[in-house]
């Protein structure tokens, strides 16, 4: 009897309403329009998410591209139980986590300097050396790269995404599929830990 039962109709969320036009395009079978729309709206967010997980900008861009290719391939299987963007972020997170697990590629922050200096791209939360330079140029006090390197994983990811996402806990929660309250708690503790680390560095120097 249950085999014919329909899945429960989800309550539309803000993200669902935002993506309604893309879901309609998908219902028409226009995969091309859906992917184009997703890239126009979310490519930067997917990049931020990838960057917060893999750290290396080049690898993050590669992972973001892979995410959209996977989205393209999986679009016919999208069942609409979650918002299109939420579904896509899950693919992005899994892609990045699989990549770093497979390649054991947690790139030391020092390596960012060479990668970024080569092509002149903007520095991504600095490097141990370049971060000091940018900190000096910007009149900032701390080498963020060095501090973030010492921050444990759940906090580091949330802190990085918070600043990449213009300090919006809601956006971070959506990207990481976490309740906003959890994001706020992790952020609060993460910043406290960072401040403690910064204090220790000051004391040492």
């Amino acid at each position: 009897m249950n085999s014919g039962a329909r899945p429960p109709i989800p309550t539309p969320t803000a993200a669902m309403e935002r993506d309604a036009d893309l879901v309609a395009a998908l219902a028409r079978g226009d995969r091309h329009a859906v992917l184009e729309g997703l890239m126009a709206r979310y490519r930067q967010k997917v990049m931020h998410l990838a960057l917060s997980i893999v750290r290396d900008p080049a690898l993050a861009e590669d992972m973001a591209q892979t995410t959209f290719v996977k989205v393209w391939q999986a679009l016919p299987k999208f069942d609409g139980r979650a918002a299109l963007s939420t579904w896509m972020y899950t693919i992005a997170r899994n892609t990045c986590l699989t990549a770093i697990t497979r390649e054991k590629r947690m790139v030391p922050l020092e390596d960012f300097a060479e990668a970024a200096d080569d092509d002149g791209d903007p520095m991504v939360f600095g490097t141990a050396q370049a971060g000091i330079e940018s900190a000096n140029q910007a009149g900032a006090e701390y080498d963020v790269a060095r501090l973030l390197e010492q921050l444990p994983e759940p906090y580091r990811r949330v802190v990085v995404l918070f600043y990449l996402e213009d300090r919006s806990c809601e956006e971070v929660g959506e990207l990481l599929s976490m309740p906003t309250g959890t994001v706020k708690a992790l952020l609060h503790r993460g910043r406290k830990k960072l401040a403690a680390l910064a204090g220790e560095l000051e004391t040492v120097s």
């Binding site: 931020h48 960057l51 900008p57 290719v69 520095m123 939360f125 940018s134 900032a140 701390y142 963020v144």
Partner: protein, 146 residues
């Protein structure tokens, strides 16, 4: 207390200034579309692949079929013979004539065995190498030359 607050404020300022991400533009979209096209192409090639049967597989199929048919014919023939009681199941006694064998010394035999072992080893390695990526490349190059 003030120092702690100062650190947190300065830290927030540093984080805002230093945590940045490269901006993605149309080049990113173009790269994604290129990869999508490549994936579609790969998928269509994979769909066609089973239709292309290598010649060796066809020959293998033919020889298997012949072997199977011969085995079946023998089973049917001897089965029918056995059924009517016409098959003699006893093992025939063979009388092998004593042939003259050349006299080989133990040292000579050891040398022959050693050379044969080397030949088999080198042959096996060469055969195995034929199926590695280098071997495949070499074979294709030889094929082109010939």
């Amino acid at each position: 207390m003030n120092r702690k607050l100062d650190i947190e404020t300065a830290l927030d300022r540093s984080l805002r200034k230093q945590v940045v991400s490269p901006r993605l533009d149309g080049r990113f979209d173009a790269a994604v579309w290129a990869r999508v096209e490549a994936a579609v192409q790969r998928a269509s090639n994979a769909g066609l692949a089973p239709a292309v049967v290598p010649k060796s597989a066809r020959w293998l199929l033919v020889s298997n079929a012949i072997g199977g048919a011969v085995a079946l014919a023998l089973v049917l023939y001897f089965g029918a013979q056995w059924f009517v009681g016409g098959v003699d199941a006893s093992v025939p006694t063979l009388s092998v004539p004593r042939l003259p064998v050349p006299d080989v010394s133990a040292r000579m035999m050891a040398e022959i065995v050693s050379i044969a072992t080397w030949a088999v080893t080198v042959g096996s390695l060469a055969f195995a190498l034929m199926f590695t990526s280098i071997g495949r490349r070499l074979r294709s190059e030889f094929r082109q030359i010939l």
